[in-house]
Amino acid sequence: MTEINLEKSTIRELNEALQAGSSGDKFSVNNTVGKHALSVGLTTKVDVEINGHVGYYCAGMNQQANIIINGNAGPGLAENMMSGQVRVTGNASQYAAATAHGGLLVIEGDSSSRCGISMKGVNIVVGGNIGHMSAFMAQSGCLVVCGDAGDALGDSIYEAKIYVRGKVKSLGTDCIEKEMRDEHKKELQQLLSQSKMSHVEEFRRYGSARKLYNFDIDQVDDY
């Protein structure tokens, strides 16, 4: 286990050390004090445990690495993640996992607005609630919400799947509730157990009505 203390090391030194890590290496990062861009651009299977709150863009562009944040995360957590796993024990601010292509993001607390915006294959599991405009233009992957969802969930969604256990304040344009078939229950079960979340019942599924794929003059008001 290599310890990196951000009272002594700069953010650049931290990221260089993590990026140079080999598969199986373990790191712990301390004294974060809300600093930005921690643990970004990792490409190997290292384990990183960050103790404390983090600022903007933590774990951005992650590939393969397993990153745990013991605290809250600021805006842009795991933005454009490709693979690996990011877990935050507290809350995450706006646009978590935006544009992310793969991997798993677990937020044990709440996630703010625009969670999973333009997601392209990532799986996101949120233990609490999510804010407005989440999964906007989501293309593929799953967004699982154990609490409630805010306004305009899944607006202009493509082929991503959304599972919500609590209330949805409102659905966005072209997002509709869909039947929970066995394959969906299985997928949900798998994601929840992977994320170590206990709720498995009462989820509803939401997805695209597929009416906005091609421009239609009759639906111009929906765009």
Partner: protein, 300 residues
Amino acid sequence: MCGIVGLFIKNQALESQLGALVAPMLSEMTERGPDSAGIAVYRNPQENGCKITVLAQHQDFDWGALEAAISNHFSLRDITVTRNHAVLSLDSEIDDVQVWMRDNWSDLSITSAGTNIEIFKGKGNPAEFIDQFDIKSMTGTHALGHTRMATESAITTEHSHPFSTGQDLCLVHNGSLSNHNRLRETLRKKGVHFKTDNDSEVAAGYLSWRLSEGDDLDQALNHAIEDLDGFYTFAIGTRDGFAVMRDPIGCKPAIMAETDDWAAMSSEYVLLQLCQALKMRAFGSLNQLRFIAGKGVNND
């Protein structure tokens, strides 16, 4: 992008440390706003009198001449000059003083007016501002600070925040307003004065106008949500505390923490440094918003 910080001291014993606590918070906001910085500090209340802060356009302004002239017209208690700013305490009617200043001293602008508030601001790096105005030694009940990254208008001291919105009221802004030009014209017709083409000054002018129309602060802020279009986190200072408000879609950040001793807000998590300095734990979550030390509305 800009940075906002606010600190309200609840435990009187800490009032002597207000500046020492706010200065590092402001300094940490440099990356969000390297162009200029400013602070509104609430201190030295003037019983049965008033206090105004004035800003001179030139460093070599003749403050002696102002002191002599103002003493002829009003009962001046004290004048304290710090670089190109001066704080004047008087026994006189504040409105009369302000009118006289505007009519006779066109090269001075009034940055604040009231009984407690003082506003200082300056172009350049926040660290220089903190040193030049000796922010670290300031005492008081509460303070709001701002670091600016200019997006809407020029970088000058007058374009810097905080903006006065009335007696003992001020506003700092992170964000940008899209309907400020039209709103400025509308407000001008209603008699509101503007010194710059800055969008945040329009928000300040709007609140001044609503308050002059009889709104209380809650009502004025709720009207602002209706009439201001754009992205904003505002921190609004009052004699008794400060309020925080975000636009309905929450584009700009605000982080708040409160203990028995103080309540604080910041654009970033950096305020936790303050908590560490005081060996206390912050609580409150991201995006949690409410009025501090006043009547509250939630605008989450």
